[in-house]
């Protein structure tokens, strides 16, 4: 697998050594996973929700929001109103 590209998607920076180590570990793991090919899943619907719930709704009623101070409390960088982040390069 292309560890570097995948890490890029996940916004994780890896050094060469890490890329090599992860590459070989994950290739082992993925080749173990190949056993799934043995299972005949023709016509089987993929299961994404194990509990067969449906149509779970909430009424459109406003409830109090968090206080702004609580919203900003955990922020690594902020001013009185906003959370600050490094420059976002457009695009």
């Amino acid at each position: 697998m292309d560890v570097k590209y995948t890490a890029e998607l996940a916004k994780i920076r890896l050094n060469k050594e890490q890329v090599d180590k992860l590459g070989s570990e994950l290739n082992d793991i993925l080749s173990f996973f190949k056993n799934l090919k043995e299972v005949d899943t023709k016509g089987v619907e993929p299961l994404s929700h194990v509990l067969a719930l449906k149509n779970v709704f909430r009424d459109d009623i406003v409830k109090p929001s968090l206080k702004k101070a609580d919203v900003l409390k955990n922020a690594p960088q902020k001013d009185t109103h906003y959370i600050k982040v490094p420059r976002v390069i457009k695009g």
Binding site: M1, V3, T6, A7, L9, A10, K11, I12, R13, L14, Q18, L22, E25, L26, D28, I29, F32, F33, N35, L36, K37, E38, V39, T41, V44, E45, P46, L47, S48, H49, V50, L51, L53, V56, R58, L66, D70, V71, K73, N74, A75, P76, Q77, I83, V85, P86, R87, V88, I89
Partner: protein, 480 residues
């Protein structure tokens, strides 16, 4: 009398009889923590704040009353005002502004919250070794792992550093450490307990459950935490029975299925013997035992390790240094993301994020993630068929007893395979409990696993209680 050694049920009856006060229990447990925590390291954060302490058990109006019994909570369950970090550096300093649904319920039921227990980082592990706070040690043998990922909760209950504990179970994270620490661990049916406030690992598999000294205590704690929640769309409104009432009644004519695929190569001989002895005992109590086959069991590990990391890669994307937790300074935003995430996540977290990202990525989705979801359907279907014939299943919880710290950490695949018996219940959403059923020659506890159909916790309680009433294993205490 060492109060910290007693079960919650016993303590409550002493409280009701007026023989002791809640403060005495709390002091006893706090003293025990002072005594052994250095060696066990069960906690990530101890909440000794008297202010939160008073609010912890104030104003409960629930009919379910824990009367100030001390409870430990896994570090991935949000507690308002108390750090919640999933034992990860990336959540360094994060103090949730809200309580998880289960914490709300515990507070209403007058539980005394002790603090947050250590865990594998983001629940990624079976040994508690991937915590940023360092490993928890097994109270039965401090050189060994307590199991994982809820190793802190299991070790705390086993060592008397808590009377009750909450854990979370995505692939065995409650049951496996419960087995390795000689305590009772229940993973309820998916949707039985609200996940609101549980920091997600794999949303379709995660479930909060109990770690306790006895089966009765598990029922007691389940009565407090189970039930529908308007904040969790995947939580069921199914009726919640009084689980303590389902304990009695015996298991005469109960049909127990024993699946062949759980007694295979790799299963420790002593573990196998202990579980077989337990099955014999249950049979002696009137249960009918049937050998059955679940042929797709061998695909569970692959299925799980494709689905769970995929969901995790998405769930953990929010840890990006913007709003909370760790941030490493960098020039533009993309670099900030990368340096923050690379230094905030540990090795196993990075491994799973990459694996999960890969199985969702374009070109691989069909072969990996989607294929795994289909096999998941096959495995769930197989259980459904089995439960038409049997009332519950009994298997070993883990193929081995607790291994040495450091023994498997360098071999991720081997580590993944240690979840082989617990993973299927998560894939199918089934309730499953690990109950102490013996000890190996080196004095390490063994657990047997009881599984039932969805919302069949009552059957599990009945079976486990009957076993516990007729065995002594759960009464043994580690010498620390």
């Amino acid at each position: 009398m060492k109060l910290y050694e007693l079960s919650a049920a016993r303590l409550i009856s002493l409280l009701e009889a007026g023989e002791i006060k809640a403060s005495e229990i709390q002091e006893s447990v706090q003293k025990r923590i002072d005594e052994v925590e250095d060696r066990v390291h069960a906690y990530a954060t101890l909440d000794r704040n008297t202010e939160t302490g008073s609010s912890k058990s104030a104003g409960g109006e629930s009919v379910l009353d824990l009367k100030g019994i001390p409870v430990a909570v896994k570090d991935n369950i949000c507690t308002k005002g108390v750090p919640t970090t999933c034992s990860s550096r990336i959540l360094e300093g994060f103090i949730p502004p809200y309580d998880a649904a289960v914490i709300n319920r515990l507070k209403k039921a007058n539980a005394f919250l002790l603090g947050k227990t250590n865990m594998d980082e983001f629940a990624f592990g079976s040994s508690c070794e991937t915590s940023c706070y360092g490993p928890t040690h097994n109270p039965w043998d401090l050189s060994r792992i307590p199991g994982g990922s809820s190793g802190g909760s299991a070790a705390a209950v086993a060592s008397g550093e808590a009377i009750l504990a909450l854990g979370s179970d995505t692939g065995g994270s409650i049951r496996q450490p419960a087995a390795m620490c000689g305590v009772v661990g229940l993973k309820p049916t998916y949707g039985r307990v609200s996940r609101y406030g549980l920091i997600a690992f794999a949303s379709s598999l995660d479930q909060i459950g109990t770690i306790t000294k006895t089966v009765e205590d598990s029922a007691l704690l389940m009565n407090v935490i189970a039930g529908g929640d308007e904040n969790d769309s995947t939580c069921s409104n199914e009726d919640v029975p009084d689980f303590t009432k389902s304990l009695e009644g015996g298991i005469k004519d109960l049909i127990i299925g024993v699946p062949d695929e759980y007694f295979v190569e790799g299963l420790d001989k002593e573990v196998e013997e202990a579980v077989n002895e337990a099955i014999k005992l249950l049979s002696g109590l009137g249960a009918k035992v049937e050998r059955i086959s679940l042929p797709h069991t061998k695909y569970a590990v692959s299925t799980y390790y494709l689905i769970a990391p995929a969901e995790a890669s998405s769930n953990l994307a929010r840890f990006d240094g913007v709003q909370y937790g760790l941030r490493r300074d960098a020039e533009g935003i993309t670099d900030m993301y990368k340096v923050t995430r690379s230094s905030g996540f540990g090795e196993e977290a990075i491994r799973r994020i990459i694996l999960g990202t890969y199985s969702l990525s374009s070109g691989y989705y069909e072969d990996y993630y989607l294929k795994a979801q289909k096999v998941r359907a096959v495995i769930a279907g197989e259980f459904k068929e089995a439960f038409k014939k049997v009332d519950c299943l009994i298997t070993p919880t883990s193929p081995t007893t607790a291994f040495k710290i450091g023994e498997r950490i360098e071999d991720p695949l081997k580590m993944y395979l240690s979840d082989v018996f617990t993973i299927p219940a998560n894939l199918a959403g089934l309730p499953a409990m690990s109950v102490p059923c013996g000890f190996c020659g080196n004095n390490l506890p063994v657990g047997m696993q009881i599984l039932a159909k969805p919302f069949g916790e009552k059957t599990i309680f009945k079976t486990a209680y009957a076993y516990q009433e007729n065995s002594q294993w759960h009464k043994r205490k580690p010498s620390l």
